[in-house]
Structures are given as C-alpha cells and as structure tokens.
Symmetry: C2
Subunit: 295 residues, 2 copies
C-alpha cells in the first residue's frame, strides 16, 4: 500500500462535529475509483483539530466505505502518550497503516525526534509512514536523521513535502541514499507530484487524489509506466489548481471549497479557527474546476 | 493582577502524569514569596502536552495552594471548540483570568485570528490576556491586529515575546500606540524583562519568577520604582541563567533541570517527546545556580 496513489480525503465537518454522511460520500468515490490506498486524518483530514473520539469515528467510517482499498490513518499529536493512545485506537478501528508526524511546540532536538519514533514504532503492529512536513509540524529533520528513523523496524515509507520545483530530483536522490531500500519515498505537495514520481518516488501522497482521484491516478500511472513527459503534461494541465493552492494559503481551504462546489459537503466544513473562503474565492474555484473538467 | 510580577510555574510530571506533590511545592513557594500573580499552564507549565483532565487538576491544585495570589490559567489549543471547553473548565476550577494563544497548524489568516479571539472573549466572564509567542504558536500578528484584538471587550493584557535586545523600547512604544490605555503590556523572554519594564511594560510574565521569585520580584520592583539601572544590573547579574536558556533550546528544559536541582521535583519531569537534559548539562546548571546564589 506504499506505492502508487495514496489519496488523502478531507474530513468535512458541520456544526455538530464530523459530517459522517459527507465523509462517507467522499470515501466511497475514492473506493470506487480504486486508488491504491487511502490516507485519512492527514493534514487535509484535519486531524490536528479533532478529538480522540472524532478520530475513531473517522477511521471506522472510512473502513466501512473503503472496500478493498487499504487504509492508513494519521495519529499525530504533540505528546507521546497521546500518540500511543491514538495508535491503539486506530489499529482497533481497522487502520492497516499509521501516518506519524513528530510535532513541535517547543523546538525538538534530534535525539527527542528519534526517541519519539522509536517509542511509537515499538508499540505498534502495523507499518508506519513517517510524516515530514515542516510547514505544519514545525519539525525539520536532516536526511541523516530521516535515515536513522527509516531504519527502525516497522517504518515502511516516508512522506516528504514538495521541494523547490528545480530541486526535486536532487532532493529525492539524496534522500534515497540514506534510506533502507524497502522504505518507499512518497511525494506530497501536489504541484511537485509529477517531478517527484519521475525522480523515483514510489508513491504520491495526494490531496488532489482525495477529491479528484481519476486525474491523480492518470498522472501516477503515467509516471509509473515511465512516461515522464505525459506525467508532467498532466501536472501542467492542473497548474490552475496548484495556483489556487498558493493563492489561498495551501491546499486545505481550496479542497474544502471544491468539495462544497462538487456537492459533497456543506459550505462551512472546516474546523474553527479556520474559516471558509470568501464567496469570490468560491466563484474563482468553481470556474477553475469547470475549466479543468473537474466538476 | 496584570501589573508587576506574574510568575509562570513549571508543571512537573512523573510517570503517572502530573506530579501533584511537586507542583504544590512550587506553587506554595510562589504564594509565600507574594508574587503579584500566578500564570499556570503557560508554555513553561507544559499546557500543550496536557489533557483536559490534567489541566483541570493543575488549576485546582494551584488554586488550593495560591493563597491570596490571583491565578491566571492558560487555555491554549488548536481548535476553537476545545479552547471554549478549556475556558469553561478553567473558570469552574477557579481561574481569575485566562491566557489565550491562537495556535497555528495550517497558517492562519488575520481574519481567522481575530474571529478566534472574538469568539472566545464573548464566551468567557473573566479577563483575558493575549498570548503572543510565534516561536511556539507559529502565529505572528501585526501591531495593528494586536490592537484590534486588544480592543475586544474582556481583553486586559497582552504578553509579548522578548524583542531583540537593542529594539525593546521601540517595539514597546510602537505597540503601546495601538492598544487601549487600560490594556497592559507584559514582557516575556526573561533576558528582556528589565529592558521591557524600563520601556514601559506594566508586567513581567516570568519563567524565572516561577522558580526564583525573590530575585524576579527585586528586578520588577526596581523597574517599577523607576530605578532602571538597578533593574538592568540585576538582569546583568542573571546573564549566566539567560545564557543557559539560549544554550539548551529555551527556558523550559533549563527550568525543569533547575527545579530538580532545587529538590522540588524528580529528574525526569518533562512531557515526552521532550527529554531531560544530559548529566553534563545538569552539572553546569547546578554550578550556575550556585554561583548566582539561586539554590
């Protein structure tokens, strides 16, 4: 489950918490499109704002609509004790793999980050994907530290953020040298996906794929078949979507608006303090989706 | 309670959670030294890693040992719903004021930050202190936004991080112009306290004061009496302590080690993933405390 397209669905909320109906709708679409894996409770899945009970609810709901698609669940939290409880919850609720970020409040030392991964991987019985995304977790790790963590028993993959456009191949190759051969590298940051897959990443941890699975599968399949230029062309066609991500502070708010526009969930589906985008932004996103045939 | 010295005690932990005995010891020392206010569950109080139940436990314990000293409690969390629950808990447990950070996972917009403070201040009935510390919360606010937030009914003070040494007076004066006159400015970042108080800050939100209340009171009193040079001299004398903060990644790990050295709590009192400092660091901190007569 750590190769190909791993789709990261939104967790739509309404005023009483998780919007189970809308979430089931989103997961069902992904199961029907046969993505290679589902990644619930990632950043796009708003894990950071959800309670323990809500996270269990999300995993159970995903499991019951995922069909044969394997399920990875995020277990991110600041404290190690809390992470261990979330890991136990996720495994009981049917997660086939866990997505594990180290998150900083006070800046963490390298020793603390390593010990954190060591402690958690010792306690879990399903494979773990290392979540690396300094913009949200405020933890930055060297390739050497990533290598040490990836060598821990139980680590199966590492999810990396999109590097600068012209630096993707160098970054992926440099990281590859530090990792055990069996640990896959997954590219995140949708705008970098084609470059990352073309540079040897084995998986796309995809926000776009969580809402638009067919085009994301098309891109992933092209890169996997070695059709690098086709993968790049598909990514270039989606450039207006990547532009919206940049314009509106990341992919989450745009994805939430897009899910609303597609009729998958209500308009106000983000966790407070996040606010829905403006009516103007909604109009712009709707026009972009129409022009890209992503409706 | 938003003038003078507000001492921020550590929340020492042991393997079963909050070390109530050690915490009571620390709070009792502060009550006996008659600091002007207590600030529990700040960053030094490890709020970010504590559960809802542990936070209630800390506030109750503080209340029962604080004597006549007014009590401010941190209610920080990522999600607005959770913050509202923590605010309700803290008020029920006896907090006289609340310390409120906006915290980012995804970067927040100015509109989201303002709406967050507006929502929370509408729901609470005790005064609120705005917590500004981008290093831990990853939220950076302009002075204009701070001014808009400070004008909300219920805001009584704003806790600012220490600016660059040679920029303190300019920063404090520039912020002062944006705030309602009745909202006090509190300096944080112990190494900047003398400069901040001398520049017109009305309160020191003090980590040092949470463990060494007498010297912190001395510094605060000097600045308050207008004895700017004396306040600076006391701060200069404490420079070896500020140097330790810088050397060991901030004040929290040093304060935890110092509390152990003073016999107030066990050696491993930080929440995981944070680790206690090395034996060498403990020795260096013990020597520094001895040389400063802070034992």
């Amino acid at each position: 489950m750590f190769t190909g397209l791993c789709a990261f669905p939104l967790t739509p909320l309404h005023q009483h918490g998780v919007d189970e109906t809308a979430f089931a709708r989103i997961v069902t679409r992904l199961a029907e499109s046969a993505v290679d894996a589902l990644g619930v409770l990632g950043s796009t899945g708003s894990y950071a704002w959800l309670s323990r009970e809500q996270r269990i609810q999300v995993i159970r709901q995903a499991k019951s609509h995922a069909g044969a698609v394997p399920l990875m669940a995020g277990i991110g939290a600041l404290g190690t004790d809390r992470v261990l409880r979330l890991a136990e919850d996720a495994q009981r609720a049917g997660a086939n793999a866990l997505l594990l970020p180290a998150i900083a409040y006070q800046p963490l030392t390298e020793e603390e980050i390593f010990a954190f991964y060591q402690t958690v991987t010792r306690e879990v019985s399903v494979p773990v994907c290392v979540y690396d995304n300094p913009v949200t977790t405020h933890v930055t790790t060297s390739d050497a530290l990533k290598g040490a963590i990836a060598a821990l028993p139980g680590i199966a993959s590492i999810k990396i953020p999109g590097p600068a456009k012209n630096d993707v191949a160098r970054r992926v190759q440099s990281l590859r040298r530090q990792l055990p051969a069996e640990v896959t590298i997954g590219i995140s940051g949708d705008a970098c996906a084609a470059d990352g897959l073309n540079a040897g990443c084995e998986v796309w941890y995809s926000v776009c794929g969580g809402l638009f699975p067919y085009v994301a599968k098309e891109l992933t399949a092209a890169a996997t078949r070695g059709q690098a230029q086709l993968a790049e062309a598909i990514s270039a066609r989606l450039e207006p979507l990547w532009t919206l991500y940049r314009k509106y502070g990341g992919s989450l708010r745009v994805t939430a608006a897009a899910a609303t526009i597609l009729g998958l969930c209500g308009e106000d589906c983000l966790p407070r303090p996040l606010l829905p985008l403006s009516p103007d932004a909604f109009r712009e996103i709707a026009e972009t989706l129409r022009s890209l045939n992503l409706e």
